[in-house]
């Protein structure tokens, strides 16, 4: 994954994700919005095949990179849980 940070302050980040599509971005923004400290989590794609740009704002109690890291941890956790589930179901 290749990202480009275009703006970073204590409560706001604007990050460009090279080569990403809706599959990961939509899941990420939805997970970010689950965090109560996050105000805005939204990605925009200028044209249909443009690289998405993510905008994250927080209430200032956590910096945007921390909330992104936490969201990634949650998503990784869900995938691990489901993978474990599938493997157990198949082995039965």
């Amino acid at each position: 994954m290749n990202i480009e940070i275009r703006e970073l302050t204590a409560d706001r980040a604007r990050i460009l994700f090279h080569g990403e599509g809706h599959t990961f971005m939509n899941m990420l923004t939805d997970e970010l919005l689950e965090n109560p400290v996050v105000g805005i989590a939204k990605y925009t794609m200028e044209f249909q095949f443009s690289d998405p740009e993510l905008v994250v704002t927080t209430d200032g109690s956590k910096d945007p990179l921390t909330v992104i890291r936490e969201a990634c941890e949650h998503l990784r956790g869900y995938c691990d849980e489901l993978l474990e589930n599938v493997r157990t179901a198949v082995s039965k």
Binding site: M1, T23, L75, R76
Partner: protein, 274 residues
């Protein structure tokens, strides 16, 4: 979050994903369709084609044939040690040589590696008549559905919210909803409408029963209510036999996990957390 399988065989899976959200379920669906790699014919060298189809159309039809894929043997060309030049780890080769008059089927495609044979023998490619001939060599590579639909390992892959069907006390058992239901999941017992045992998951959420109930004229509200539970999704995944469905599910989850992991690593390095 949990996956509860209703059905799982080599080519079909039906499962319920619980305690989830729509965005995650949709990412999972999209990953199964377009992020799981599989083999498909990508380059065709045509030595002779006196059939009625143009070379391009013939090549296109060959590309759409599902091929058995062993992802422990084959890797995408970009990740191969040959650098994408084409070797036995990233490319499967086939030959086809048929003279008419007869139908050319997918079984006429002879693979160099028998483990990469077409999934079905009976796929018609072209009908040849007297003195028509097709001689060609094809190369299949591993890629994803994101690049082209011929690399999709799934045929049908989708989800719906888990149907919740409730009946109010106003139900007079008129049976209008039972007649209207296209899936036949409703019945009238003891003067009240109810769901046939174990058929609740088959509800299409079409709400024709609600409309029928309104037509019955019992008050202003229908006595049957259909709601989709957004935290529970019923998935149906049907593969094209190039990969077992279980592998499609696992690889899609591994893909999403890898993306999250990659972003986590990059962001951790940027913010100085290890």
């Amino acid at each position: 979050m949990e996956i509860i399988f209703g059905r799982l065989d080599n080519n079909n899976a039906r499962f319920t994903l619980t305690e989830t959200r729509t965005a995650f379920a949709n990412a999972f669906r999209r990953a199964m369709i377009s992020e799981v790699p599989t083999l498909a014919i990508d380059q065709v060298r045509i030595y002779d084609n006196t059939s009625v189809l143009f070379d391009e159309m013939l090549a296109h039809r060959l590309g759409l044939i599902p091929l058995r894929t062993d992802l422990t043997t084959y890797v995408p060309a970009g990740e191969c040690s040959c650098g994408g030049a084409g070797c036995t780890h990233c490319t499967a080769t086939y030959t086809l040589s048929v003279e008419g008059p007869r139908m050319v089927f997918s079984r006429d495609l002879i693979p160099q590696d028998p483990t990469t044979a077409p999934c079905h023998d009976e796929i018609p490619i072209i009908k040849l008549s007297e003195n028509q001939k097709v001689v060609l060599e094809a190369r299949a590579t591993v890629n994803t559905g994101k690049e082209h639909a011929k690399w999709q390992p799934t045929i049908a892959c989708g989800y719906k919210n888990y149907p919740e069907i409730t009946f109010s006390e106003n139900c007079d058992g008129c049976g209008m909803c039972v007649e209207e239901c296209p899936r036949g999941i409703l019945t009238v017992k003891e003067g009240k409408a109810q769901v046939v045992a174990e058929k609740q998951e088959e509800c299409l959420l079409c709400r024709l029963c609600e409309e029928a109930c309104m037509a019955g004229g019992i008050g202003s509200e229908p006595s049957i209510r259909i709601k989709g539970d957004e935290t529970r999704k019923i998935f149906v995944v049907e593969g094209d036999e190039s990969l077992p469905v279980q592998e499609i599910i696992e690889r899609a989850l591994m893909h999403l996990r890898q993306k999250s992991e990659d972003l986590h690593t990059i962001v951790s390095q940027l913010s100085g957390v290890t």
